[in-house]
C-alpha cells in the first residue's frame, strides 16, 4: 500500500493533557474515516496533518514530508476545519477568491475556481451574493468544503464536514466526496455519523483518549472481531423452550427473556458457528420463529465495542 500519511509514535500534548498518545498508523489512498468521541484527538490529529500543530514527540509525514511550515506540501492538502468558523462579514465568492489568490491561483483563475467550487458543493447561486453571516450551518459547511477544494489538493482533510447538513445535504456531500475519491483525491474524514462513514470509507481509524483502538480496512477490523459475542433478538412461539435448547447446545454466552412478548435476546459466542447450526437447532427445538433480528456488525457496533 502506498502510504499517504504515516505516523510513528506520534504524541501531542497540551500541558498535561494528552491530545495524541504515542500513536502509529498508516493511511493510504482513498477514503479513510476517523472515528472517535469528543476529545478523542481527531482534531489534534488533523491539525498536525495540516501543519498547524507540531508533534510533541514522534513523527508524522504526509506524502513523505513533515507538514509543519512546509508550503510545498500544503499545496497538496486541502483542509476543512470542524467549527463553523468562516469570515462572516464576507460573501462566499469574495472569500474563496481571496483564499484562491493566497493559494497561488492567478486573479481570473481564482474567481473562476471560486464559482466553480461553489457550484460543485451545490450552494445555490442566489446565496453567492449574501454575506455568510446569514448562512445556515449547512450552507457554511458547503462553503468550507469549497475553500478546501479551491487549489485541487491531492489530500483532503475534512473535520466533521457533515455537521449541520440535512439528510439530503449529507447525501450530496457523500456523493461529492465519492466523486473526488474516484478522481484520485485521497480523503480523510471524521464524523459522528458512523453509518455515513461506513458507507463512504474503505478504511477507518478509531481513536479514543488520544490512542488508536483500531485501524485498517473495515472488513479486516470486522474479521478481528470474530471472537466477539453478537446479540440476536428472536420473537418465537416458546422462548423458554428455545433458549433452553440453545443453552444446552452450548452456543450461547447469555440471554434475556421477555416471555410476555415472546421475545428472546441471546448473546451468541461465535456467530459463524451459530449460524451454521441455527436451522438444525431450531428444528430440534420445535419452536416457531416469527422474527429474528441481529444487532449487526455495523461501524457503530465496532465503535461501541472498541471504545467501551
Amino acid at each position: 500500500m502506498n502510504t499517504i500519511i504515516q505516523a510513528r509514535e506520534l504524541s501531542r500534548w497540551y500541558g498535561i493533557v494528552m491530545g495524541l498518545n504515542n500513536v502509529s498508523f498508516d493511511i493510504g489512498p482513498g477514503l479513510t474515516g476517523v472515528v472517535g468521541p469528543n476529545g478523542a484527538g481527531k482534531s489534534t490529529l488533523f491539525q498536525v496533518i495540516t501543519g498547524q500543530l507540531q508533534p510533541s514527540s514522534g513523527v508524522l509525514t504526509v506524502f513523505g514530508e513533515r507538514p509543519w511550515n512546509n508550503p510545498q506540501l500544503l499545496q497538496r492538502i486541502g483542509y476543512c476545519p470542524e467549527r463553523e468558523s468562516i469570515a462572516k462579514e464576507l460573501r462566499p465568492v469574495a472569500w474563496l477568491e481571496g483564499l484562491g489568490l493566497i493559494s497561488g491561483l492567478r486573479a481570473q483563475e481564482a474567481r473562476r475556481r471560486a464559482e466553480q467550487m461553489l457550484e460543485k458543493v451545490k450552494l445555490a447561486r442566489e446565496h453567492w451574493t449574501k454575506r455568510m453571516a446569514q448562512f445556515s450551518k449547512g450552507m457554511r459547511q458547503r462553503v468550507k468544503l469549497a475553500q478546501a477544494l479551491l487549489h485541487e489538493p491531492d489530500l483532503l482533510i475534512l473535520d466533521e464536514p457533515m455537521n449541520g447538513l440535512d439528510p439530503m445535504g449529507r447525501q450530496e456531500m457523500a456523493q461529492i466526496l465519492k466523486e473526488l475519491a474516484a478522481q484520485g483525491t485521497s480523503i480523510v474524514i471524521s464524523s459522528h455519523i458512523l453509518a455515513e462513514l461506513e458507507a463512504l470509507c474503505q478504511s477507518i481509524l478509531i481513536l479514543n483518549w488520544g490512542r488508536i483502538l483500531a485501524s485498517g480496512e473495515q472488513k479486516d477490523i470486522r474479521a478481528d472481531l470474530k471472537n466477539w459475542s453478537e446479540q440476536l433478538s428472536i420473537r418465537c412461539s416458546d422462548p423458554e423452550k428455545l433458549v433452553r435448547h440453545l443453552f444446552e447446545a452450548g452456543v450461547l454466552v447469555g440471554f434475556d427473556l421477555e416471555s410476555a412478548d415472546g421475545l428472546l435476546h441471546v448473546r451468541v459466542k461465535d456467530p459463524e458457528h451459530f449460524y451454521g447450526q441455527w436451522l438444525r437447532l431450531l428444528h430440534e427445538s420445535q419452536t416457531e420463529v416469527f422474527e429474528i433480528r441481529s444487532a449487526n456488525r455495523s461501524l457503530r457496533r465496532i465503535f461501541e465495542k472498541v471504545t467501551t
Partner: protein, 266 residues
Amino acid sequence: MSADIDPRARSVALRPTFWGAFRGLWLLAWRTQLSLRRLPLVLASLGLIPILAYATVEDEATRPFFHWTVEFYFLLGLPLYCLSVCGAMIRDELQSDTLGFLSTRPMTRARLFLGKFLCNFIWLQGLALLCGLLMVAVGWTRAISGITAFALIFLAAQFLAVLSYGALSSLLGLIHQRYMVLGFIYGFVVEVGIGQIPTNINNLSLSRHLRTILGNDRTIQDLYEWTPDRTLFSVAAMLAASALFLAAGAVLFTFREYHQSEEMQK
C-alpha cells in the same frame, strides 16, 4: 511503507508568491473592514478627534489646537489605534477560528504574518492620512498660524509613527492575548518613563524620535521646545525598530503554535 506520491496532474496552476498572497489577503482585509458591521466604527474613529478638536478649539487658538493634534491625537490616540488594529490582526483570526484557513495555505508563516501586517499597515496609513488631513483642515478652518508648514512634517512623522507603532503592536499581539495591557505597560515604561530620561537611553522610546521629527516645525519648537537635533538618526531608528519588531514577529509566528482552543481557554 512510506512513499513520495507524485502529485496528480492539476487542471489549475499554482504559483504561490508573496505578492499573489498579499493580493488575496488585501482583498479579504478591505472587504472585511468595509463590511456593514465595521464601517460605523471606522467612520467614528476617523471623525471623532477632528470633530472634538473643531468643537473645542477657538479661532487662532494655537496652543489648544496643537494640544489636540500633537499631544492627544498624535502621541496618544494614534498609538492606541495602531495597537487595537495591528495587535488584533492575528488574534482576531484566532478568536473567530479562521486562522486555519490561512495557515494551511501554501506559504510560510513568516510571509503570512508579513502579508497580514502589510494589509493592516496600508489600511491604517489610509485612515491615519484621512484623519491627519481632517486635523489639518480643522487647523485651516480655525486659522491656526503655521498650519501649512506643520502639515507636511506632521504627515511625514505620522507615516513613520504608523509604521513603527503598527509593527510593535503586531508583535505584542503575537506575544499575548492581552496585547492592549502589554501595550499600556510598554507605553508607561518605555514611552512615558524611559523616553523622558535626559540621557541616551531615551533613544529606546519611539515617541522621543517622533518629537525630534516634529521639532523640525518652528511652531512646535516654540510651543514644546522640542529640538530637531539628529533628525536623520531618529528616522533611521524608527525604521530600524520597525524592521526589528517585524522580524521578531515573523520568527515568533513561525515557531510558536497558535490554536483557537488555547486562545479560548485563556
